[in-house]
Amino acid sequence: MSRQVVIDPVTRLEGHGRIHIFLDEKGEVRRAYFQIPELRGFEKFLVGRCAEDAPQITSRICGVCPTAHHMAATKALDDLYKAEPTDTARKLREMLYSIFMLEDHALHLFFLGGPDFVVGPTAPKAERNILGVIQKVGLEVGKKVIAARKELRGLIQELGGRVIHPVFGLPGGVAKGLTEEARVRFEEAARRGLEFALFCETVFEDVVLKNKAYVDLITSDAYTHRTHYAGLVDSNGRSNFYDGTIRVVDPSGNEVVRFAARDYLKHIAEHVEPWTYVKFPFLKARGWKGFVDGPESGVYSVAPLARLNASTGMATPRAQALYETFFKTLGGKPVHFTLANHWARVVEIVYAAERFLELASDPSIAGTDIRRLPTETPREGIGVVEAPRGLLIHHYTSDERGILTGANLLVATQHNAARIAMSVDKAAKASIHGGVIDDGILNKVEMAFRAYDPCHACATHSMPGSMPLKLQVFAADGSLVREIVRGVEACPS
């Protein structure tokens, strides 16, 4: 084969996640655009691959939430091959998934979004990081967080082969089971995991909820959007990360629709804008009305806050109690405060830990029937999970040999893309006046999207190289007034 490489000569922009702010003559914000200038094309290069390789290939969409893509793809393979996983396999998958949600949410709480609150939103930027968090809460606490994460990630590795890019899921089951000896160890670890979750709850309460300034910030109009919300729920309407139906509620909290993942194309479509590589999903029943909130808009939101809003409760006791406190404190359901995502994440940390313990305590999870070998001819499969950052749908078609002929992925941060764009615009309008802009203002704009724990690697199936943020402010005549380039935290789904 001859090598003829054509490289497009148009190669100029730098910075990945970027915000463009246009000012009017008075220095007020006309509009802030949040652009994601990146794309990798996983859906295209999955074509031609063996279906059974999809869980390992798609995990490379995101190294922070590989387990989410791995699991969504695995469930799509169950459907593709019509191979229902065995009871044991199902339990093992949900347990692994609960451990993953627990450690991933903890990463965000302490390493990513947390520094804004623990260290403070206007603290010097050199301190707004995990090292600053450790300084603030003490090295002992820091070590405790690191140790807890290490133990949890070790469990994922033991069961899933690897923690970054697991090799666990197969159509109809999993590659590896638990011995009873291992189950006992997992159960003991789960007790420590729950202790750690309750510790996270305490830290959040002490640092954030007891600080009136933070609560005022969370509930301020600058960080509020009245949109629809979507999340996976079980048959009782309670939030579930691994399986269930997709429930959508309107800005008043009323159920709009509830559907199985396999019907997603009837309910969700994607809008394309020419100024960003990310696509914007919207509710077909409402249609795309632009970047606006309200009951007539098709814009909806996913992730922790959306999951709490879209469910009727939590399936475990401590998480349910926290769920009730959450809505009682924040003025009833649904809650529209974007920054309340941080609190909702803490509720989910507790849920994930309780679920982990419940599953690890069930002796039947140590069963040996971990796989059902496929017998049907593969054709089409759709799988769904709740990734840490929201609803994740994988959809594949294949030929009769199980070679993929098509792939479509609807990813967590993508569902949130429209609302994130709106949040950035609104926060910019609330923060910038008379053309005055500084680093503190920049961070307040950043906080508008950080609350979503967004992953633009996932959203565009691109790379978390898309995290460094570049902010440009233009005057009314189009001239560049100010440019700030900053690093922002990692990817995640």
Binding site: M1, R3, V5, V6, I7, D8, T11, R12, L13, E14, G15, R31, Y33, L39, R40, G41, E43, F45, G48, R49, A51, E52, D53, I57, R60, G63, Y81, K125, R128, L131, I146, R149, K150, R153, L159, G160, G161, R162, I164, V167, A175, I268, A269, H271, V272, P274, W275, K279, F282, G406, N408, L410, A457, M463, G465, V485, R486, G487, A490, P492
Partner: protein
Amino acid sequence: MAKPKVAFYWCASCGGCEEAVVDLAEKVLNVVAAVDIVFWPVALDFKKSDVEAMPDKSIAVSFINGAIRLSEQEEMAQLLRRKSQVVIAFGACAQLGGIPGLANLWDRRSIFDWYYRQAPSVAPDGSAPATKVKVPEGELELPAFWDTVKSLDQVIDVDYFVPGCPPTPKVLLAAVEALLGGKLPPKGAVLAGDKSLCHECRLNDSKPEKILIADLKRITELQLDPEKCYLAQGVICLGPVTRGGCEALCIEGHMPCTGCFGPLDQTPDYGGTAVSFLASIVDVNDEAEAKRVLDKVADPTGIVYRYSLARSKLGRKRLEAGA
């Protein structure tokens, strides 16, 4: 003595290499104490202009992960090259192009067509992202998306390579210790052992002296016996042609090796070597029978070049004229 300055940067990657650093867990604190991290977008706030302002060669070591997909990534790589004494291609994407390199089977146009026009969920109104777009308030720009993904050493001079998708904390720590201790191998070396995975695989004892397979099987067709060499069970495991050092994690997860640690030192082309290895173990003489067995290698490119297409002798699928 001043601590050595270290930079971490990511190009077209998934963030897994960054997680691998975080997975040093408590050891990450030791590393942080021993060096001065001047640039690390995942964890610390930074300015690109800060790097630009540094004197040339003032960074002791830059770890760069990810493949090269956009001009911006190549520019950052060149900037860090200029500012660094040593550049390390960290992880499979930087070393070999990695999984994003599979996009070299397609081109920009076909990826855009699918993503913005043909995917079943797209509301078809014909628009697609463009590099320059007029909006009511002015003009917005997007970087161009290239047809071809490259490995790091296809765009800049690279001193060392750390293998893996992602590298394990153990491999990373060994590389860091070698760098800090000044015990460096010759330039161009891969900072891991040069023995195949089989040497550290628990199942190596059950590997037959000479592997001969009359029937290859896909993982969907059988339940693997986790106590017996997977090749001996007829399943493709790339351990014999893949560099070890990963501690056989996939094998311990009861799944075969897919080759993420890449080629051994003397391997000219990973995929080519993998193909000749597979051809050598298929034990059939009849042509029709050979075809039946090799058809089980259902996606040869995706199997033997999963992590290394961009850096292979093939590089990419030939671009159509005008693409």
